[in-house]
Amino acid sequence: MSSVDTLNIIQGDVKKRIDRWLARYPVDQKQSAVIPSLRIVQEVNGGHLTKEIMDQVAQYLEMTPISVYEVATFYSNFEHQPVGRHKICLCTNISCMLRGSDELLDYLKTKLDVDVGQVTEDGKFSIKKVECLGACVNAPMMQIDKTFYENLTEQRLDEILDSLE
């Protein structure tokens, strides 16, 4: 993770990327860009948001801070605690549950020796339970970073985790 100035995060490339989003909306409706902006700052901050960072987004988009907190706590894609380099999002919703996601979760926890919401000691992984990601046909499933992995078994899980840097 490159070092970021968390007290002045909206600058340089980050600012450029947010401004690209802003250009799509009327000038007096900057808040329209709140979700992409949060996604960008979360990414450069290594995967999670802090109050200071959300406040800067609020200021930049001319919103009250609480309005940004509302959005950032509503969507489960936003994290408020540090996460691993790879965030394992395991679906535990009904279809996946019927196909054994609870057992997979236990396996994962023992394997990585962390609980849901925690980060492994080497900073590589963290586990998150998520709701249905729309891949029920191939349940159980998980999402790591930007990839869906389906038809999971314990063995598949081992292979996938081993293959990640």
Partner: protein, 699 residues
């Protein structure tokens, strides 16, 4: 107009009106939580579901516009089933803590559950708990009780203009709150207490003090600012417990300022003076009224030979009756030096007459399309006028300000001129306006320059069909107040705008009515001293703009008589006689507000200790001086006498022959909103807010 049938009753309504309003107007009750007539429609609680013929599902009455011929049933099996189901859902996570909840007995959730809910719940799982944050000294939170109606959130966004609360998280984990540890700072924040249908937001100073069914409500008028907000004071056994708003569309709508709600704590302040006190040889002794008044008369008598040596300073929150009796007594004794405009230092415009009123009705402010505020922090000084102005602004009114820098606005400002010299900026705007309309007036503006902002402001006033100029407390405190008046009234004329020199306090208008003809020169009295000062309802060292001079003048006077509700070390130091007077609910009288409504109120709380209403003290003094016409038995008699005088405000004709060459910038004198009078200075809850931190001289 369309016709709607509700429960078989035919009701006329405007097409597009919401069903819930139409039912309300016909006194047909529909339960609701999220709906509030002053807030936007959220339709999220679903409590208002009703059965509309032709719709296969029950529909929310708060979000369903009526159409001609619509047939509605609020008590059909379908409606009842919907109401019961919603009620059951709402109660799933609501704690059963009514016995220890302050809202108990005046809780909309309790009432609606009784009227529309079922007797048993099918839910047997665990209820959720929500952690509380400290949101300041005025509002107590118990967020486990919240039913997520979002009235408080919408209030912040739509009325207070300051979104401080929000809904964070989602689904079962959704919480209403500030998310971070932060106080709620709006000057109207207390209204959320009334809006909250449950016990999630309650009145913090009032917490655990009384049950609603022990309280008696008395209609009265708020005693601080010139809005004259209508309120109910709730008493228990004659003791004031709390204040809540009393709806009056023409004045305060359904709101009141925090100052009006929380200042009542001061009635029970340990500082209350409860017995007359007289100082002899440096020692204070309490005595009974008759003796104390005898001493007062005797001490005063020697000075009456030359009444010029005597000055009376009077609170602008005194009732009309009190002001009148002060004047009547003073004039009978030959005293002419009476003043209530304590936060003013330049009185030279008095020669043209005095008119400190709003040049329109409060409701008409909402229809303005261009406003220039000069030297006024309306948001803090007149919060409910600011609220009307904010509505105008949201409707497209351009609001411009000329003010000292650093003020906090909660509405969109078009052009903001930050300055320490209101006069020079006004002169520039006037000159810009003159050029625009191509007109010359009496003011000599040759040396004045102006820039694009001045032109923009002038232009906005000129093209506004309903434009207005408003002067506030900061302008009134300026050393060049009279020049400001002259320039501003000229600017109003040139641009075709109305002109309001806004009264600040609850009876500024009334006191001006009665005292207008008294020529006064407070600045001179304080600077050069008087032998005798009589202070009515004020602490000169805090209530006068020129506070240091006032204190020195008091200390150097030979005799200082204070009719006061509060004792203090500094008064003990300079005063010779202190007579305890009743305030607020302990008193009866009349206040004249910003739009010249005469609002009378009754007495309904027992005064602290031996305190007496000031009008009674003045009456007895009149008797003791053997004066004619002091035999009143109640305030209504005094009021009748005042009314018979047919007093009216004359529009001043400001002569514009001013010399602008000697304008020195004056340091701005912002009166912190929680220091304006003895009562607010002694409300611990208000004093613990950020608005008070800077400021209270008592701290």
């Amino acid at each position: 107009m369309v016709k709607v049938e509700i429960n078989g009753q035919v009701v006329e309504a405007r097409e597009g009106d919401m069903l819930i309003d139409v039912a309300d107007s016909a006194s047909i009750s529909i339960p609701r939580f999220c709906y509030h007539k002053k807030l936007s429609i959220a339709a999220n609680c679903r409590m208002c579901l009703v059965d509309v013929e032709g719709a296969w599902k029950a529909v929310p009455a708060c979000a369903t516009p009526v159409t001609d011929g619509m047939k509605v049933n609020t008590r059909s099996p379908k409606a009842i089933a919907a109401q019961k189901a919603v009620m059951e859902f709402l109660l799933i996570n609501h704690p059963l803590d009514c016995p220890i909840c302050d809202q108990g007995g005046e809780c909309e959730l309790q009432d609606v559950a009784m009227d529309y809910g079922d007797d048993v719940s099918q839910y047997s799982e665990a209820k959720r708990i929500v952690g509380d944050r400290n949101v300041g000294s005025l509002i107590q939170t118990d967020m486990t009780r919240c039913i997520h109606c979002t009235r408080c959130v919408r209030f912040g966004q739509e009325i207070a203009g300051l979104k401080e609360l929000g809904a964070t998280g989602r689904s079962e984990w959704m919480e209403i709150g500030t998310y971070i540890e932060k106080s709620i700072d709006s000057e109207l924040s207390g209204n959320m207490i009334d809006l909250c249908p449950v016990g999630a937001l309650t009145n913090k100073p009032f917490r655990y003090k009384a049950r609603s069914w022990e309280l008696k409500a008395h209609p009265t008028v708020a005693p601080h600012d010139s809005i004259g907000s209508n309120i109910f004071v709730h008493t228990r056994n004659g003791e004031v417990m709390r204040v809540v708003p009393r709806e009056n569309e023409a004045i305060n709508e359904t709101w009141i300022a925090d100052r009006d709600r929380f200042s009542c704590e001061a009635l029970h302040s340990a500082d209350r003076l409860t017995q007359p006190k007289v100082k002899a040889e440096g020692h204070w002794s309490s005595m009974d009224w008759s003796l104390a008044l005898q001493v007062t008369v005797e001490k005063l008598k020697p000075y009456l030979a030359n009444p010029e040596q005597i000055a009376i300073l009077l609170s602008p929150n005194s009732t009309l009756e009190e002001v009148y009796l002060v004047k009547k007594l003073a004039n009978a004794l030959g005293i002419n030096n009476i003043e209530h405009r304590l936060r003013q230092q330049d009185f030279s415009a008095d020669q043209y007459g005095i008119n400190q009123t709003l040049a329109m009705r409060l409701a008409d402010v909402e229809a303005l399309d261009s406003v220039l505020v000069i030297g006024g922090h309306l948001r803090k000084d007149l919060p409910l006028l600011n609220n009307r102005l904010r509505k105008a602004q949201l409707n497209g009114c351009e609001v411009n300000v000329v003010n000292p820098s650093g003020l906090d606005y909660n509405l969109g400002i078009e052009h903001q001129v930050d300055t320490l010299s209101l006069v020079s900026e006004l002169a520039s705007i006037l000159k810009a306006a003159n050029e625009l309309v191509d007109q010359d007036n009496q003011v000599e503006l040759a040396a004045v320059t102006f820039n694009a902002t001045h032109t923009a402001i002038a232009n906005s006033l000129i093209k506004g069909k309903k434009s207005a100029l408003m002067l506030g407390l900061i302008a009134q405190a300026d050393v060049h107040y009279s020049k400001i008046l002259q320039l501003a009234s000229q600017l109003a004329q040139t641009t075709g705008s109305s002109f309001s020199d806004l009264p600040a306090f609850s009876n500024t208008v009334g006191a001006n009515l009665i005292l207008a003809s008294n020529s006064a020169d407070l600045t001179n009295w304080l600077a050069n001293g008087k032998k005798v000062f009589i202070n009515v309802g004020i602490e000169p060292e805090f209530d006068c703009l020129l506070a240091d001079q006032a204190l020195r003048a008091m200390q150097q006077a030979e005799l200082v008589i204070n009719l006061t509700a509060f004792d203090s070390v500094s008064q003990q130091n300079y005063a010779d006689i202190m007579l305890p007077i009743a305030i607020f609910a302990e008193n009866a009288g009349t206040l004249v507000n910003i739009q010249q409504d005469w609002q009378s109120f009754k007495l309904f709380a027992s005064a602290k200790g031996e305190a007496k209403p000031a009008w009674k003290v003045l009456r007895v003094l009149g008797n003791m001086f053997d004066l004619e016409g002091f035999d009143y038995t109640n305030t209504a008699e005094v009021l009748a006498e005042i009314k018979a005088l047919n007093l009216s405000i004359k529009q001043p004709d400001y002569q514009c022959n001013l010399d602008l060459s000697v304008i020195t910038p004056t340091p701005s004198s912002l009166v912190p909103c929680y220091s304006v009078d003895g009562m607010v200075r002694r409300s611990p809850a208000l004093q613990a807010t950020p608005d008070a931190q800077l400021t209270n001289p008592l701290n």
